[in-house]
Amino acid sequence: MAINSAGVEYEAVPEPYAETENSVDNRKDVSDRLLRIHNVISNRFWQFAALTGLMFVLGIIGFVLRLASGFDDKDVWGYYVAVFAFLMTTTSAAPMVAIAPRIVNAHWRRPISRAAELWTLAGCLNLILYIPLIWLLPSLENGRRSLWFYGHQASKNEFWTGFESVPAYSPHIWATLAIISLVVLGLALVWISCLPDFAVLRDQGSGWRKKWGERLSLGWIGTSGQWNWQYHRMGVISAFYFMMLIFVHFFISVEFLMVHVPGWIDSLYPITHAHNALQAGVATVMLTIFCLRQFGGYKDYIGLDQFWGLGKLLLALSLLWFWFWFSSFNLFWYAKKPSELSLLELLISGPYMWMFIAEFLLVFIIPWFSMIWNPVRRSVWGPPLIAVSVLIGTLLDRIRLYVASWDAASRDFASMLEMEMSEVPDKILAPGITDIFLIVGFIGGSIFIFMMASRLIPVMNIWEQKEFLLYKAEVQYHRAKVLVLGKPR
């Protein structure tokens, strides 16, 4: 008998213990097997890396050609901004697939968390792509709607008292700081997360890998203090990364999209943009782990549980995408304000209608109708195919929104403070060869960076796999063998 806090006696039942397989041999076996896979590089890997490298070169050519075209014509930069937004949407959001499940202690994330984090390295490319955009962003003096409530707007109403001294280049300053912070936080996250694995490379690797591990492991030997430090730092950086990601998408969706279209006032859109990034981030990781499983030799580690977990997430995010989109669309369509109708014409019912329909099918209808079936979610092929659909749909979405908006901006720049567009573009701005180079090149470039990073850093998180041995046990439950998972605080 035991006594509870109220002083009442109760019959306590002993809690059943579950035996884990956390022996030294098992832990070493995990390290050895993962390092063995990491050290093997197939010819196919180099062939694909060469292909993506070639694409990257095309991207650099496109980048130079675009720079040579100058900054006066805004409409020619539409595809460039769309590629930048697409990469921010996919590569920068992918680490959230490691961060969010780690916070809620979901064990299925262990084999995929490193792959998700490694995409932040491609964020460096986004930073380079961002630099020319600073010159394209109109300053507040040029007369445009702004989040910064600039002086001449402030003078119209006493409510703005105190905002007169806002610098005319506030958007440039803050957007730059936000994007740099996101990249730095991403790099810090990868590094701290990799420390124990660098130590494994140092201790068990050879040649340049050993030196690389020695230099980057910062003397990691796995003391309790070091583990506590690592958990704590990863928690703090993850939280800041998430907040900065939302903040960056807030900036991008406002400064590079909404301010360019007269009358586009949609308080929900920054959330939709950020949410779309989470959806595309999940799709990116899904496709990555599929490739790692099929071609990278990680079949024993990346199983149905990972596809199932990510599949459920992708289904939920696809449904939420529809809800966010509909919440904005419904209001515009129902209220029928002239400014809102012209916006709908620009983005949905006008020249970009077919692109919108294709995107709607790829981002919402196909994921919804396929992923509600458990056999599709619980398969190795189903979720990655849906991920391809989501990624193509997201690229179409970014092209539709950014190209259309920058086209409208080039016509209506003088009247950006108006509530309605004076002229809605009547045809799609077709991509030129430079635009195609940019799209193909920078997507290929991101994949190239990821592939190269996967040679330097183990793409499977070794320490998280070993840690899993501490919390995983199999027990007999009646006639079935079931898995027992520990949930540490």
């Binding site: 109760y10 039942v13 809690e15 707007q153 920054p270 079949k299 919390y471 998972l485 540490p488």
Partner: protein, 469 residues
């Protein structure tokens, strides 16, 4: 859950059915007191029906007042049940087990409270029939289905039916236990009828589990649609500045989850104090719900921030004038400050400290503050937008709620409390089968010198157990 108390199945039955099969001393006075408040509210409503809506403070141009703010508030509270029960069930959060039933039941009663407020608001509730029958058969005048006021009853009605079904399905195994334990023949027969012959066969358990998961998944879209539709009552209008904002749907929903989950935390504290359920609701449960609340409250605050930023971003003079009225002018300015302080500034920083998160008392009082703040939020959305002078307004004034409105609003709170008390008298407020399942699933794992709580993982693919994994 570190402080888990492993109990035998018999003890769980005994403890959780104690207050159903016996009558606590405080129960009758509480029911009588709440009954008097409800009767007073209904009396005020009768007075309003007799004398007309002129006895309320509603007048040109403020036609929506306390009733509508209260309607939005209760719809918000109703989101607790699905948030706690369906979402946490689907995500297999173990800590949900003792709190799901109370949250679901609160959903049902708060939806009824929400529904009767707009009915009172129209002054002649029998006119609800106009939504079913044409206004005028001869001239073929039908209700305008494009009106948000037709969407509302459809959405709220669907949510009420779905939530009631959800509660009922989850109650079946517990009603079966009551059938077996009840003393009087009449009571036994009622429970026997209600449990639909549940005997606990493997097939019945399988069906019950599938029904629970299916209903959880199906009720989620309804959960989202309800408050979206309520928000669109406001947002589709372009005539009232401050209301026509695309963020309203998610902003209303996250606000609803904030107030709803806070209400559940408050109920948990009450359950510990009134029903002595501290074997089931531990500081760890308060800790878990407080951490959930930190995330929800912060998200809500971000949406609130965006709503304000975009109001100013329009550079539209009437919109800015409305914001000045909301935030700086008497009497709304002080209410605005109270709303922000109570719903975010005080509770969230407090919940950051583990010591406060694990205290039932602190959680009780902070969540009450949240709900006072969230009621004010709804008031500040509804009233200032209508009070403000516009170009086409030929009449303006301010709004003072009358005693009749106050009594009816108080009645809704008493109604929900009374409903919960009556429910807890006939059916257990903590799901017995869910708690027992938690006990069966629970294990511990030794990590070094510490023991870590563990649980059997449900629903893994069979391939997971292959040697390769």
């Amino acid at each position: 859950m570190q402080e888990h108390t492993q109990l035998s199945q018999k003890q769980i039955n005994d403890e959780l059915l104690r207050d159903v099969l016996t009558v606590p001393k405080w129960w009758l006075p509480a029911v009588v007191g709440l009954g008097i408040v409800v009767a007073t509210g209904l009396g005020a409503f009768s007075y309003m029906v007799y004398h007309g809506v002129g006895v309320t403070g509603l007048n040109r141009p403020v036609f929506w007042g306390f009733f509508i703010a209260n309607f939005v508030f209760w719809i918000g509270i109703s989101h607790a049940g699905i948030m706690i029960s369906a979402i946490l069930r689907l995500t297999q959060a173990e800590w949900r087990r003792p709190v799901t039933r109370a949250a679901e039941v609160m959903t049902v009663f708060s939806l009824i409270a929400a529904l009767h407020t707009p009915l009172f608001h129209v002054g002649r509730p029998w006119r609800v029939l106009y939504w079913i029958f044409p206004y005028d058969f001869d001239r073929g005048i039908w209700p305008n289905i494009r009106s948000p006021f037709v969407w509302d009853p459809s959405a709220v009605g669907t949510y009420l039916i779905a939530s009631s079904l959800f509660v009922f399905v989850c109650l079946l195994p517990d009603i079966a236990i009551l059938r077996d334990r009840a003393k009087g023949l009449f009571v036994k027969r009622i429970y026997a009828f209600l449990c639909l012959g549940f005997r606990g066969t493997p097939r019945q358990w399988r069906l019950q589990t599938i029904a629970g998961i299916l209903l959880s998944a199906l009720v989620l879209p309804v959960f989202v649609s309800v408050h979206s539709i309520v928000s669109w009552d406001f947002a589709v209008l372009i005539g009232v500045e401050g209301w026509h904002s695309t963020i309203f749907a998610p902003y209303f929903i996250i606000g609803a989850i904030h107030s709803g989950v806070s209400a559940v935390a408050m109920l948990m504290a009450l359950a510990v104090w009134l029903y002595k359920l501290d074997n089931y609701i531990k500081p760890d449960h308060f800790d878990a719900i407080a951490r959930l609340l930190i995330v929800v409250a912060t998200t809500w605050f971000f949406f609130f921030f965006l709503e304000w930023v975009y109001a100013l971003y329009t550079l539209d003079s009437p919109e800015i004038a409305l914001r000045e009225l909301q935030a700086f002018e008497w009497p709304y300015g002080p209410l605005f400050a109270i709303f922000v302080i109570l719903s975010f500034v005080i509770p969230v920083p407090m919940w950051l400290f583990k010591r406060f998160r694990r205290s039932a008392k602190i959680m009780f009082w902070t969540t009450i503050l949240v709900n006072i703040g969230m009621w004010l939020e709804r008031f500040l959305i509804v009233i200032p937008g209508l009070v403000r002078r516009t170009h086409m307004t030929f009449d303006w004034g301010t709004y003072h709620p009358s005693l009749v409105e106050i009594l009816i609003v108080v009645e809704t709170f008493a109604f929900v409390a009374l409903g919960m008390l009556l429910f807890a008298k006939v059916l257990p407020l903590i799901p017995l089968f869910d708690v027992k399942e938690g006990v069966v699933f629970r294990h511990v794992i030794k990590v070094g010198r510490k023991t870590v709580p563990a649980s059997i993982r449900e629903g893994l693919p069979h391939h997971y157990y292959d040697k390769n994994h």
